[in-house]
Amino acid sequence: MHPARAWRGRSQRYRLEGEICEGCGARLFPPRDICPECQRPARTPYPLSGRGEVYSYTVVYEPPAGYEEQAPYIVALIRLEEGPLVSAMLTDVGPEEVYIGMPVEMVTRVLHRQGEHGVIAYGYKFRPVLRRTVMLPSPSAPVTA
């Protein structure tokens, strides 16, 4: 795959940059330049938060060429908190842990590598929202002598 293809979408791929419609305020991802809500131009870049929840998901056991090294993997539709649905892989999670409605957050990962020699394509995936460990005031914390 020519590197220009992934390159021209780097803002969307790397950091989930969408668009906002100046007309009606709809936030769009993927960028589509014409607002589907009001049909007016929507070309103002808008960074999506990357937070959302699983709308649906599946496990791919028979991957297409180029994705064998990650299979079996989970792909999902994510309902972003700004409204749009987005297709992406889930990562850092096993199929048995996923459920519809699971809160997820965007991370930037390797989408595919094209073998040992090709350009590495990075892009958004989603993972379960990182759990914060409970930090109790630690009595064992070292004190200055």
């Binding site: 780097r10 803002s11 790397y14 950091r15 960074p47 064998e68 090294e69 990650q70 892989m89 990562t91 850092d92 991370v107 930037t108 990962r109 390797v110 989408l111 073998g115 590495i120 990075y122 995936k125 990182l130 759990r131 914060r132 460990t133 930090m135 630690s138 914390a141 070292p142 004190v143 200055t144 002598a145």
Partner: protein, 357 residues
């Protein structure tokens, strides 16, 4: 500004850490699993387990997450960074910077210095020294230094037990905005070939016990001792100390040689849980300390990179730590996120099973 015979480095404009962030992947390979495979379980592993990156992770992806955490803590816009530097010995490309990808992903492009640093396990602190210089000289208000690695040891080699994965990002900025202010730093470098990897080799070579006294201990101890001497500080002045962690014993011994008590290095000593994260090692330890430190605490951080050299930093924590710490996941959150894998899964994730030739 030079002091003490040109040894200690202090920027003319006071500098500190305004934001920090860590990343550790979720998979863990227990040492006993490696020992089972290669020694029939006869050899006791040097660390309990090590962090292993998933198949979609590399130094770039780990750096991006650590960098996002650092930005969240700093509370500054990414386009205010004037440098994004990534130190690693496992950059995914031999030619093509990791730093441009990281800078683009966090939104720091295009008015930014971006480059990759290489100095074995001290590539990250090397970048940190440069960032201190950048901010200290007034050329930049903020500069980001990252140390991250997905290091590999040859299957069956002693290094395989410890070669882990993880990284940490630091944003250096003006002292008055910092959560930890730099008192000074000192570097100690000689040409000592204790560990190396040739340009096209997959796995590193090492000099066995030569990596110990003349390499690790000599450089760490000299850098730390001379920095404390120049600053007029003593081990008991430090609440915490963190050293490069190739295994559990080395940093423990270095601490003892310098006169630090085990409690002082406990918080930052993570190698038993995540392995040796190379360029990330000392820096992730430092993030774990900052996660727990209180205003006024003094921290000594000393890296070691084979080849060889050490960078020592003396830091004092400020009030700002209280509100910034919880703007991003803590290092312990990542360590607690733990999925144990077997050697076969590890071999697959790390590309040790050849799928195409």
């Amino acid at each position: 500004m030079y002091e003490n015979g040109h040894r200690i480095m202090k920027p003319s404009r006071p500098v500190g850490i305004v934001g920090y962030g860590a990343y550790v992947p979720r998979y863990r390979l227990p040492g006993v699993e490696i020992s089972r495979l290669w020694t029939g379980g006869a050899e006791p592993p040097p660390v309990r387990e090590k962090a292993v990156p998933g198949p979609d992770e590399d130094v770039v992806t780990m750096s991006i997450e650590a960098a996002r955490n650092a930005l969240a803590r700093a509370g500054i816009a990414a386009n205010r960074l004037r440098a994004v530097w990534v130190g690693s010995e496992s950059h995914p490309y031999a030619v093509k910077p990791s730093a441009t990808i990281v800078a683009e992903a966090i939104g720091a492009t295009p008015h930014v210095q971006a480059g990759d640093w290489e100095f074995a396990c001290k590539a990250g602190t090397e970048a940190m020294q440069a960032a201190i210089g950048f901010v200290g000289s007034g050329m930049a208000d903020y500069a980001m230094a990252i140390g991250a690695d997905t290091a590999q040891g040859r299957p069956g080699d002693a290094l395989e037990y410890t070669a882990g994965a993880g990284g940490a990002a630091f944003i250096l900025g003006p002292a008055e905005e910092s959560l930890a202010i730099l008192e000074g730093s000192l570097s100690y470098v000689t040409d000592t070939p204790d560990f190396w990897r040739r340009a096209h080799a997959r796995y590193p070579e090492h000099g066995g016990r030569f990596t110990g006294e003349p390499a690790y201990f000599h450089h760490i101890v000299e850098a730390a001792r001379q920095l404390m001497e120049a600053l007029g500080t003593r081990p008991e002045d430090y609440t915490y100390a963190v050293f490069h962690q190739p295994n559990v014993k080395f940093p423990q011994k270095a601490a003892k040689m310098l006169g630090f008590r085990p409690e002082q290095i406990q918080t930052g000593l993570l190698v038993d849980e995540i392995g040796n994260t190379y360029a990330g090692s000392c820096l992730i330890g430092l993030t774990a300390i900052l996660d727990e430190a209180r205003p006024g605490d003094r921290i000594l951080a000393v890296s070691f990179g084979s080849g060889a050299g050490s960078d020592a930093f003396s830091l004092v924590v400020t009030e700002a730590i209280r509100e910034r710490r919880d703007r991003a996941p803590r290092t312990r959150d990542y360590i607690a996120r733990r999925v144990v894998i077997d050697y076969a899964t590890y071999a697959r994730y790390r590309g040790k099973i050849v799928l195409d030739t």
